[in-house]
Symmetry: C2
Subunit: 160 residues, 2 copies
């Protein structure tokens, strides 16, 4: 089972691909989508859609886990982020992949057991769990954390 | 020149198609996209993308005019609306159509000469300008108003 985790953002969208084989979690790849800084906003949003579509075609995940948000501290950032998430939802649905959403608190709880872990603690935990030679950059690491959170929750759901 | 005006919303997205022929504005069609009420949120967003794509294929507009927002009064509505706008931006870009955005104030000013017109005044003005037999429903009427605003601004820009 292969899972694509996504940490959405209009400036950087992090992604991470994991595979579960015989109860082991294998790291496949991780990276970031960086829309051209000077492009009009709607082209940035379309860029995210195109790149997510390419990643799905390249890695053929079985499902997508996306960072959820309720309402960001900054209403303007929240609104922009909504556009990026909309573009990702469209790409996911076009490839008929199921989409799961997890809040930052759920991700932190799944990885460290409590909901207030720092960005650095998450990075270190992701590196340790996936046995990465070095920490992934923040957005990619967050995307991997979302994928790990999903695998954890998904396993829990199957056991119940 | 054919223009597709869109009033985005996760519950109802209004659309209106106008054509400019020899300095006359001709009403082609208007209507609404109504995502299934009980569908998961990401399917509603994808539904909007699919329907906008179908409308573009059916009516072959030359450009798209979309209602812009800065920050809505309600941060949660604003965030949801961002997703719908993201899906519309993706569809527009997939058909390589240029996208123009107008704030509600710009639309009201273009139609009535001042920025604080009521919904009903806009509906009546749209009906009168396009010689519609009856007023279009609010969201479709707003979409037509956005298209009219674009034709007006576009003409102004060309003259300058």
């Amino acid at each position: 089972m292969r899972i694509l985790g996504i940490d959405p953002g209009t400036q950087i969208t992090g992604y991470g691909i994991l595979e579960k084989r015989n109860n082991h979690i294998i790291h496949i790849d991780n990276g970031g989508i960086f829309p051209p800084k000077k492009a009009p906003f709607y082209k940035k949003i379309s860029h995210i859609h195109e790149k997510i579509s390419e990643i799905i075609q390249k890695y053929a995940p079985d499902m997508v886990a996306l960072e959820d948000i309720f309402v960001a501290k900054n209403a303007m950032s929240s609104l922009k982020l909504g556009h990026a998430r909309g573009a990702i939802m469209v790409a996911t649905h076009q490839f008929q992949l199921p989409l799961y959403e997890y809040t930052p608190t759920q991700v932190k709880q799944a990885l460290t057991g409590y909901g207030r872990a720092t960005k650095e603690q998450i990075q270190k935990m992701v590196q340790a769990l996936l046995k990465l030679p070095e920490t992934a950059f923040t957005d990619a690491s967050d995307a991997l954390a979302i994928a790990i959170c999903h695998l954890h929750s998904y396993r829990m759901k199957k056991i119940q």
